[in-house]
């Protein structure tokens, strides 16, 4: 990674503080500057960073740090603590409908990874629950989107319902549900077209699908490399739809993935899965603590605490 990790940054601070023993509020302020920088470089949204740093500072200037003999260690602990807490304490499982089928709808910006993740989820459900999923091809806009989902269906041996591209996506989903009922599929996964959260017409289309079939899960799919816009995007989708969870894709890259924190903070919805590659078995449940460490570049955090 090109960026200095927070632990590296704070290591300097520790060096300085050790000589002095106890810390002043000015020292805490200096450390908070480093925390802020690390978060911004990891692409956490500016506004989210502000709020987060304030939370950490409030705890840090409390007796906890000022009276401590190892203040830097305390700060790292608080940061990691707060970050993990914000990220959601534990991996949240997929909701299941009381009666079959459980309906999962994939939504998100263009190219985020919805179609691929639809296939990954079908695969995951078959492997873990011996499920019999049906996928619905409701993207009538992107060239060959239907072919893409059908190919994935063939690779997994999962049926794909499609009506080509000359029908309204709401109708396609309705018809697809009829087929799922007939064939007693226990899961239905709806692949929708990528869209901008500011595209009112296409956002209404999603809201109409939601009102028609009331999905059990509406999963906002977000590219882990997303920058500052992550908050606007998440807010935009969350406002128009009852988002139930988030999938963070392309985490097999070298991005810090600060968008995860931004999205969590503005939607309050759990991140349920992460995409770890292009292959259909490269889906992982979400681990908040790992994500926290990744954002801060704190792979070596534990050893640092021991040293401190």
């Amino acid at each position: 990674m090109a960026f200095e990790s927070l632990s590296e940054r704070l290591q300097n601070a520790i060096g300085k503080l050790r000589k002095k023993g106890k810390v002043s509020e000015a020292d805490v302020r200096e450390m908070m500057r480093e925390v802020r920088l690390a978060l911004l470089e990891a692409d956490v949204n500016f506004t989210v960073v502000k709020d987060f740093v304030k939370k950490v500072r409030d705890r840090a200037v409390g007796a906890e740090v000022l009276d401590s003999l190892s203040p830097a260690q305390q700060v790292i602990k608080i940061v990691n603590d707060e970050l993990t807490k914000t990220m959601g304490e534990a991996a949240a499982p997929l909701n299941k409908a009381p009666h079959i089928p459980t309906i999962i709808m994939m939504v998100g910006l263009q190219g985020a990874g919805k179609t691929t993740t639809a296939g990954k989820l079908a695969n995951y459900l078959m492997k873990t629950q011996k499920a019999r999923p049906l996928m619905i091809a409701a993207d009538v806009y992107r060239p060959a989107a239907v072919d893409q989902l059908k190919t994935i269906g063939q690779q997994l041996d999962v049926p794909v319902f499609d009506m080509g591209t000359d029908h309204d996506p709401v109708d396609i989903v309705k018809q697809g549900m009829v087929q799922a009922d007939l064939q007693k599929n226990d899961y239905v996964i709806i692949d929708t077209a990528g869209r901008l959260q500011i595209d009112d017409k296409l956002m209404t289309e999603l809201a109409n699908i939601e009102n028609e079939v009331h999905p059990t899960e509406i999963l906002l799919t977000v590219d882990a490399m997303t920058g500052q816009a992550a908050t606007e995007v998440a807010e935009g989708f969350n406002k128009r739809l009852n988002i139930t969870g988030v999938v963070l894709t392309k985490l097999d890259g070298d991005t810090r993935g600060g968008a995860a924190l931004s999205i969590r903070e503005v939607t309050g919805k759990p991140i349920k899965f992460t995409g770890q590659g292009e292959k259909l078995d490269q889906l992982d449940v979400f681990y908040p603590d790992r994500m926290a460490n990744r954002i801060l570049g704190m792979g070596d955090m534990l050893s640092l605490i021991e040293k401190a």
């Binding site: 692409d43 060239p143 901008l196 490399m225 500052q228 606007e232 890259g253 600060g258």
Partner: protein, 297 residues
């Protein structure tokens, strides 16, 4: 000249909101820059330079200040891009080849489709190479664009060797005396060593047949991307010597400010911008409009 003036006017309107130029003003400026993804370092560098300039010129009135700032911003931008050239380069003689590279889902295939349409309407004979043989439906996607554009697509079966598709496409380009070959490649994250090597091989195959090609290696970047775009530019540049950037999805709310950092560090110019999913949603990069865009809403 005209567009610069408009840009200046627009910036002036923005700065008119600030009554006085105090520290809060520069804080706001810095914040706006950070929120456009230019990165913390670059934001700091720019706002420091502006602060310095305002002090140096000893300006107090907001209207004066805004003029100084506009000029300085354009200078900072121009300096980094001095030896850059944001036009597309074509072979002086014989066929031209453009190679498209980038991470997954950035907009490579769509950009190939859009550019093919533009070139075709300019009367050029265009061919497309479907060298993404990996992703489900990738070949069909490019073929669909080929149909829209009425441009032939050289493709092979899914799962076949992409380098051999490219070889076939270059041969066809030469045989058919086509003017431009656009090569669509599979998306790949820059930290995947084997996949990056595959790109190197594709480039070698092109060069073996046409020593001066590819005339452009275009890195397609999603404007929604944050600081990772810098790592993308570095890695792709190392393996394929990127000659220009296509900044896509600027029709969204993301500002794509990271290309400023890329410009400062790697001196790779943006050549095209994507503004939507339709055939005509492709434009040449206009630096002034882009810089203004960093500060909008």
């Amino acid at each position: 000249k005209k567009s610069r003036q408009t840009f200046g006017e627009k910036i002036n309107a923005l700065f008119a909101n600030f009554r006085t130029v105090d520290e809060a003003f520069f804080d706001d400026l810095e914040e706006m820059l950070i929120e456009s993804d230019v990165g913390y370092e670059t934001a700091l560098k720019i706002s420091d330079a502006l602060r310095e300039e305002v002090k140096l010129k000893n300006v107090k009135r907001t209207d004066e200040v805004s003029q100084v700032i506009v000029q300085k911003l354009v200078d900072i931008y121009g300096e980094a891009g001095e030896k850059e050239d944001n036009t597309l380069h074509y072979a002086e003689e014989g066929p031209t080849v453009f190679l498209f590279v980038g991470v997954n889902g950035a907009g490579k295939t769509t950009t190939v489709g859009k550019l093919a349409h533009r070139l075709q309407s300019q009367g050029k004979k265009v061919l497309l190479a479907a060298a993404d043989t990996f992703r489900a439906g990738a070949i069909e996607q490019l073929q669909e664009w080929g149909k829209r554009d009425q441009v032939p697509v050289i493709a092979s079966a899914a799962g076949s060797d992409p380098a051999s598709v490219v070889y076939d496409a270059v041969e066809a380009t030469i045989a058919q005396q086509a003017d431009v070959l656009l090569v669509d490649t599979a998306g790949r994250l820059q930290n995947k060593v084997n996949l990056m090597k595959e790109l190197e091989k594709i480039k070698r195959v092109i060069q073996k047949e046409l020593p001066n090609a590819p005339q452009e290696v275009l890195l397609v970047l999603d404007a929604t991307t944050g600081q990772n775009a810098l790592s993308q530019a570095k890695q792709f540049n190392e393996t394929t010597q990127v000659s220009g950037i296509v900044l896509t999805k600027l029709d969204g709310t993301a500002k794509g400010g990271i290309v400023l950092a890329i410009r400062n560090e790697l001196h790779i110019p943006v050549k095209l911008v994507g503004l939507g999913e339709q055939m005509d949603d492709l434009q040449d990069f206009k630096p002034d409009e882009f810089v203004y865009g960093l500060f909008k809403g």
